[in-house]
């Protein structure tokens, strides 16, 4: 059988072998023609900034870029929901020829008058980069006229991959940071970065921190507000989740305002607990009681979580998982999560991981695990089949591939419907995994038919009268 990989991609796929020096090629531009699962700069900027709910998000370009990103992410807001509308300058042929600056200015003025946002983000798309609209100048002009920050986001799609879009988003947010009043902020205070409040996750995490006695100044960007961003440099610590999306903002804040940074993951038991303890440790000089409070919190949450996990584990023990996610940091947590379920991650990959990320991944995975960067459907399908996995964890484009192969699926991306972060998220995750891995539907798909319970006499009789011999042959294969 022909290997389902490009030769040029072979260095982006590595199998972990004990004793081998681990090395992987990554952060490369995708090969032209590859059916890559990756997106563009605009996509990266849009997903990061999108949850800022009281800002106007205007997409400057032809209609598609706005249409495809209209309310696609369940980034919940506790108040305004302006971010869920789709605004576009809807550039037409004559704009492409004569320039779109006038249209952009008019659109901004109309929208700001209508919706009175606290700030406006203007996303440049591919075409804007080519026709040479001076978006920065228009933003400045409109900002002066309206009195609100109007911020250009340099997110022309072709200027790199999603990571470049994260950076552009961070640069845009940085224009707000430092413009607000920081008086009254507690010395025990943090910003939560890199969480988008899918299914209300940031509220779960925020509540943990508040129980520890910590003030959360800004949630960036889930349930985000312009005013919080403006004053978030007053927080004592930046806690950054996710490897790519908002790390640049934290670094910029560290440089400019001296706000220290720690990284965190809120997925799974170890990482969730570690996140809280790390933050507690950071503040223990200022508040000696904080470690004890944190320990009590973790203990209380685990007393609910562990018994339920043990129940679910009974069915899941020994099953195999494949993980392909956007950022590698999430993959670390997932590998650990699956261990708690008695499951083994046999293939793990990401769209945007760095070499450092993959080295860490190699360190925590089992012998023989396949590690892959920037994969494509054929490769992914091949891994799922060859390694006989029971569940695939991925995003929207991977779901139907898993199902076609007769394998369970968990969306750990934009389209997740339940909170997967926090201790409660670990229960939700375990239940979701259980629901899909144990679903009766796989009994009716060819891949699993062979491992079915022996048919009962009743089944056999029913089959004999209705089913032709072919499916039986298939089951045997």
């Amino acid at each position: 059988m022909k290997p389902a990989i490009f030769e040029q991609r072979s260095k982006q796929i590595v199998q972990k072998r004990e004793g081998d020096e681990f090395s992987i090629a990554c952060n490369r531009d995708s090969l032209a023609g590859a059916v890559s699962q990756r997106a563009c700069v605009f996509c990266g900027s849009r997903v990061v900034l999108y949850p800022i709910a009281d800002a106007l998000h205007l997409v400057h370009g032809p209609i598609g870029c706005a249409a495809y990103t209209w309310d696609i992410r369940g980034a919940l807001s506790s108040g305004p929901e302006l971010h869920r509308l789709s605004f576009s300058t809807d550039l037409r042929e004559k704009d492409v020829i004569f320039g779109g600056e006038k249209k952009l200015e008019a659109a901004l003025l109309e929208l700001i008058a209508q919706h009175k946002p606290n700030a406006a983000f203007v996303y440049s798309t591919c075409i804007v980069g080519i026709i040479g609209d001076d978006v920065g100048a228009i933003c400045k002009k409109v900002s002066a006229a309206t009195g609100i920050p109007v911020i250009p986001v340099q997110s022309e799609g072709f200027k790199g991959n999603k990571r470049a879009g994260y950076e552009a988003a961070c640069r845009a947010m940085m224009q707000l940071v430092g413009t607000g009043d920081t008086s009254g902020i507690s010395p025990l205070s943090i910003n939560i970065l890199g969480d988008f409040n899918l299914a209300g996750e940031i509220w779960i995490i925020k509540e943990y921190y508040e129980r520890m006695g910590i003030e959360v100044v800004a949630t960036i960007t889930g349930d985000g507000r312009v005013g919080d961003l403006a004053r978030c440099h007053g927080a004592a610590l930046n806690v950054v989740q996710c490897s790519g999306a908002t790390m640049d903002l934290a670094k910029m804040m560290q440089e400019k305002f001296g706000v220290p940074v720690i990284r965190a993951s809120y997925f799974g038991i170890e990482d969730m607990s570690k996140a809280l303890y790390d933050v507690a440790r950071h503040f223990q000089d200022k508040d000696p009681g904080i470690m004890a409070r944190t320990a009590a919190l973790v203990k209380e949450e685990l007393s609910v979580l562990l018994p339920r996990l043990a129940e679910l584990r009974k069915d899941l023990e020994g099953k195999k998982a494949a993980v392909y996610v956007g950022g590698a940091f999430k993959a670390f947590s997932l590998v650990k999560c699956f261990r708690h379920l008695g499951m083994k991650v046999v293939v793990v990959g990401s769209q945007t991981g760095t070499e450092e990320d993959y080295k860490e991944l190699a360190a925590i995975t089992d012998e023989g695990t396949i590690i892959v960067d920037d994969s494509n459907p054929l490769e992914l399908a091949r891994f799922v089949k060859d390694l006989d996995v029971d569940i695939f964890v991925g995003g929207v484009k991977e779901r139907p591939i898993a199902y076609k192969l007769g394998v369970g699926f968990c969306d750990h991306n934009h389209e997740r419907k339940e909170a997967l972060e926090g201790f409660v998220g670990m229960i939700n995750f375990a239940e979701e995994v259980h629901r899909t891995v144990m679903s009766p539907v796989w009994r009716f798909t060819p891949r699993r038919r062979g491992s079915l319970q022996p048919v009962t006499a009743l089944d056999a009789a029913a089959c004999a009268s209705t089913v032709s011999p072919e499916p039986a042959k298939e089951a045997a294969s």
């Binding site: 023609g33 249409a67 209209w70 929901e81 809807d90 704009d95 929207v396 779901r399 192969l405």
Partner: protein, 461 residues
């Protein structure tokens, strides 16, 4: 719902922007059309994001894997042209994924920098990057012209250009262009044509491609779609029946001019009379009598209409979507004695308004109606706030309005991201008319059952 507080009742003129679009851009239509050719990998000549968005949207709509390649433009490609990327892509794709056809469409980026697909495809051929018996076809689909429907139409013409030849020996077959409809609709169009005992070539044909059965294997190219050997014969057909002026008209006329295959362009066969016209055209072009089975299917539609006509009567409807769908839906709604009072399409075009006006006049529409070409969902919501309706028909993006205003909502068109059924059950043909009526009636009656005072809860309708 706080989300909807952002839609004020007062309508002000907007000069420069679209809010909550009722359309999207050309390339996704080209991608969908290309999926209707057997063994074809659509290819997006632009940045990676375009391709990722189109695949995600089609995947969300169909719940099936959608594969497509991308030229993965970088800053360099945008300065020096995308030829090198596309040539490399063509070679890579044929080497690893082994499609029979690559269908390249452009994007706003590659159009603006002036990449010439004709020239690049020729070069790929000359350099031996296209293996024997394999094809590269293409269409120009700038995102800033027309809408997603235009892109679909342009790729249909790209398919005809790529495979059709002048002076093809006569086959006696009929070309059928189904327009941008669901795979289930294409299946239904094939079924009706077969029942008329006609030999046909239907393209594009996405049935079985984007609504493939679960058989335990992942095939990048399901064993479905219009066959290349058939497509090579389209120039020898005795006629073309094109469904939908916007999606299919230009391709039909191209084949008429180039291959001298005469065409009839019809509205999409949605609803009673539009299906009648389709069947009648098949009868004429194919020289066949309409079999009794088809008469019976039609009879069932009229039966349903008569049984329930009092429930349809006088209901006001707001509908949005693509011009081809709207023309046929408006006629069917009028035949059901309903009142389509708000009509929005995001797709620009000159004839749409006139065609709706003709239907309204012919059916003696008793009340005024509003229509906007190049409109959006924000405007539609404002209209509804000013003049409420009893029913919404359109794609998923109507759900905010449905929720905010508590209006029964039938999902129809593209995309449908939150309900199932469109992949499996047609809305074209007589069967499709039955399904549409069932959906419409059910949402009315469910609302009545839910909201009528207890004393008035009716057991029998």
């Amino acid at each position: 719902m706080t989300l909807l507080r952002h839609t004020p009742k007062d309508i002000t003129e907007r000069s420069a922007l679209t809010i909550n679009p009722a359309k999207t851009c050309q390339p996704i239509g080209a991608m969908y059309a290309a999926l209707g050719v057997r063994g074809c990998l659509p290819h997006s000549h632009g940045s990676q994001g375009c391709c990722a968005y189109h695949r995600s949207t089609l995947t969300r709509h169909y719940k099936d894997p959608i594969s497509a390649g991308t030229s993965s433009f970088t800053e360099g490609a945008s300065v020096f042209g995308g030829q090198a990327n596309l040539l490399q892509a063509i070679q890579n794709i044929f080497t690893i994924y082994e499609p029979d056809v690559i269908a390249v469409h452009t994007t706003c980026l590659s159009e603006t920098i002036g990449d010439d697909l004709n020239q690049i495809a020729d070069k790929a051929q000359q350099e031996g990057k296209v293996p024997e018996g394999k094809y590269v076809i293409h269409a120009s689909t700038p995102s800033y012209v027309g809408s997603h429907v235009t892109g679909f139409s342009n790729m249909c013409t790209g398919i005809a250009k790529g495979f059709g030849r002048k002076d093809t020996p006569k086959t006696g077959k009929i070309n059928i262009l189904p327009g941008w409809v669901e795979p289930s609709d294409m299946e239904e169009i094939k079924r009706l044509t077969s029942m008329m005992d006609l030999k046909y070539i239907l393209f594009p044909d996405t049935s079985g491609v984007v609504n493939a059965p679960l058989l335990g294997e992942y095939h990048m190219f399901p064993d479905a779609g219009a066959k290349i050997e058939d497509l090579k014969e389209i120039g020898g057909s005795k006629g073309t029946v094109a469904l939908g002026e916007t999606a299919s008209g230009p391709t039909a006329r191209y084949m008429d001019t180039e291959f001298k295959v005469p065409c009839t362009v019809l509205p999409l066969p949605i609803g009673l009379r539009a299906t009648d016209r389709f069947i009648d055209t098949l009868r004429k072009v194919g020289g066949r009598n309409v079999p009794a089975v088809i008469d019976n299917e039609r009879g069932l539609v009229v039966d349903f209409m008569s049984d329930m006509h009092q429930y349809f009567h006088g209901k006001k409807v707001a509908l949005w979507g693509d011009p081809d769908q709207l023309v046929s839906l408006v006629e069917f709604l009028r035949d059901l004695d309903m009142l389509p009072v708000h009509i929005v399409t995001g797709t620009p075009g000159k004839t749409f308004e006139k065609r709706i006006a003709a239907i309204m006049e012919e059916t003696k529409m008793p009340v005024p109606y509003k229509l906007k070409v190049g409109g959006d969902m924000f405007l539609m919501h404002q209209w509804i706030k000013n003049e409420p309706v009893d029913l919404l028909i359109g794609n998923t993006y109507g759900k905010y309005i449905a929720r905010d205003e508590n209006i029964p909502f039938v999902r129809h068109g593209f995309p449908i991201l939150d309900r199932q059924g469109h992949q499996y059950f047609p809305t074209v043909g007589y069967k499709g008319a039955l399904r549409l009526m069932e959906m419409i009636l059910n949402v009315f009656l469910d609302k009545a059952d839910r909201e009528s005072p207890e004393a008035k809860l009716e057991l029998v309708y």
